[in-house]
């Protein structure tokens, strides 16, 4: 497995939105949620943090945001230590937590305005209005939160996180349990924020979202960062490619003469699938086609398919077990 871990010298401080060094967290019960985590999140990027349940994603986010105390290591947000200079650090950060936790009896407008006040910002009704309109909440501004659907509550939580105009936004599973239309709206908002230079750190179970939107991907498992890589580079480096041949005649089994190749049969013998490393010096395709011809196997069509980020992620997590 090829991994690429960032190091202190990798990024200039001025380009770093969040810097994590030697971070560890052991809870009172003895459970170690994070171990020696090093990570740099660049300013203005959309960083996707992926990992299975219990990998340490939420603990990492909670430490950066000030909700959980670290056991070891340091974290800075825009150059400010999140413990010693917590005011300056937290002013920069917005958080949309995983759980739907809202003030049920408050109105949408009041709860979003409350969040802005909490961050020491003066009232700015025009900004609150813009957020509510962007998130399709304007019609609900006077509604009590308990009257809203789950999806609407999720929007309210995003609106609260954006109320103080953060430069760094943490989205912890923001689209969990949200319908397709809402997910699309949310990603529109996220795209708009990114265009304005907001750094976005995202955890999601919808890995295709990370694949489509993230500049870089980090994979965390058992409290350790396993890999940090540009999304496109990761796909290029770790993505296996498959050549799918649509056979003229179905095969019952793969002939012995072709056993040297990574071949498998699909679609009830109508497809012959060849898996290869797209980055390798030799893909073996030419030789395979020659041997297929020699074996009298003909095909009527062919196509190639790249591994998805989800497949890469699953393979990485499996290999660490």
């Amino acid at each position: 497995m090829q991994t690429s871990l960032p190091h202190a010298a990798d990024e200039a401080q001025a380009d770093v939105a969040v810097r994590v060094r030697g971070l560890g967290k052991t809870y009172a019960g003895g459970f170690t949620a994070l171990q020696d985590v090093d990570l740099d999140i660049r300013k203005g990027e959309l960083f996707a943090l992926l990992g299975p349940n219990g990998a340490g994603k939420t603990t990492l986010i909670s430490i950066v945001c000030g909700i959980v105390n670290p056991s070891r290591g340091t974290v800075t947000a825009d150059g400010h230590d999140v413990t010693r200079e917590y005011r300056a650090a937290r002013e920069k950060i917005g958080l949309v937590p995983q759980e739907l936790t809202t003030d049920a009896f408050e109105t949408v407008w009041n709860t979003v305005s409350f969040s802005r006040g909490l961050f020491g910002k003066s009232k700015k009704p025009a900004h609150i209005e813009k957020i509510l309109r962007d998130l399709s909440l304007w019609d609900k501004k006077d509604s009590k939160i308990m009257m809203l659907s789950g999806g609407m509550k999720r929007r309210v939580m995003i609106a609260k996180a954006l109320s103080h105009e953060p430069e760094i936004l943490f989205l912890d599973e923001p689209t969990a349990g949200v319908d397709v239309e809402l997910r699309r709206d949310m990603w529109e908002v996220v795209r708009g924020l990114r265009e304005r230079g907001v750094t976005i750190i995202l955890t999601t179970h919808y890995i295709e979202e990370a694949e489509q939107m993230a500049d870089r991907v980090g994979v965390i498992n058992k409290g350790r960062i396993m890999l940090v890589e540009d999304t496109a580079e990761l796909m290029r480096k770790l993505g296996e490619k498959r050549l799918i041949l649509q056979l003229s005649e179905p095969l019952e089994r793969i002939p012995e003469s072709l056993s040297a190749h990574r071949l498998e049969l699909g679609a009830d013998g109508h497809e012959l699938i060849y898996t290869y490393d797209a980055q390798g010096e030799r893909t073996g395709i030419t030789g395979l086609l020659r041997e297929l011809s020699a074996a009298g196997i003909t095909f009527r069509d062919l196509s190639t398919k790249q591994s998805s980020l989800e497949e890469i992620f699953v393979n990485l997590v499996r290999s660490s077990r």
């Binding site: 000030g66 003030d103 049920a104 006040g117 909490l118 020491g120």
Partner: protein, 253 residues
């Protein structure tokens, strides 16, 4: 200091009072009026005067103190416990707000509510009995210090509690009995000699005594001692809160 954050939390808490007006204001006023009916009519017919003050008027400071203590504790404890219970505490913890600002806003709002309630009860009492306040400044000072101290105690209870039962435990099993046994409805000089000494271990005695002195110039213990006890209790609460915030006890894991 993040004054806007203090104002935001304070306004949020006060808005909760407005939403629950019946529970926050009307219910305590009605129950206090019932005390006047029960104690004033039933007992007042047997004890006409205590140290030259009509019994109905004598119990007014004790009744106000009873409400100040219980309401300060329950308002402040609920104020900080509820966001812990619902999970919205994440927002407070991730905001650029210091511990001092958190305490000022939550305990400040709780103290404001209980002082407002105390003043409403004072006005209500004036409808039932003739009142006089000999030392209004000291009356307000005692009221403020008591409300502030017990709001801090309530804040501590709210942090400590991890379920609704615990939230009610201290107000119901400790604060209310101590208040009833702390001379709210009688002078401790009316007790047998042994109980006069035992009751001095009850901190509420000092609060009620000092507060009653501000009304009628009557005190079970010296006013300086009453003031000293309140300040001592305030200092203890501040010390405990400082420890809670230094360690993150039940707030930050």
């Amino acid at each position: 200091m993040n004054l806007r954050a203090i104002a935001a939390i304070y306004r949020f808490e006060m808005a909760r009072t407005r939403r629950t007006l019946l529970q926050s204001i009307v219910a305590p006023v009605i129950s206090t009026s019932l005390y006047f009916v029960v104690f004033g009519s039933a007992i007042g017919s047997r004890i006409t005067e205590v140290d030259g003050v009509s019994y109905g008027a004598f119990i007014v400071p004790g009744l106000i103190m009873l409400n100040l203590l219980t309401q300060s504790v329950s308002n402040a404890s609920f104020g900080i416990y509820f966001p812990k219970f619902t999970g919205t505490i994440y927002e407070i913890l991730s905001a650029p707000v210091s511990y001092l600002e958190i305490v000022l806003s939550y305990a400040g709002a709780a103290a404001t509510k209980s002082i407002m309630l105390g003043l409403i009860i004072l006005v209500t009492a004036a409808l039932f009995v003739p009142l006089r306040i000999e030392h209004p400044f000291w009356m307000l000072l005692f009221m403020f210090l008591t409300a502030a101290t017990f709001s801090l105690l309530g804040f501590i209870i709210g942090i400590w509690a991890d379920n609704f039962e615990k939230l009610q435990l201290v107000p119901l099993l400790i604060v209310t009995p101590l208040t009833f046994l702390g001379g709210s409805f009688y002078s401790i000089h009316m007790l047998p000699p042994l109980w006069q000494k035992v009751t001095l271990f009850n901190p509420v005695v000092y609060l009620v005594s000092g507060f009653r002195w501000s009304f009628y110039g009557l005190a079970d213990v010296s006013v300086g001692l009453s003031l000293g006890m309140i300040v001592l209790f305030l200092a203890i609460c501040l010390g405990v809160i400082a420890w809670i915030f230094r360690t993150g006890y039940r707030l930050r894991t």
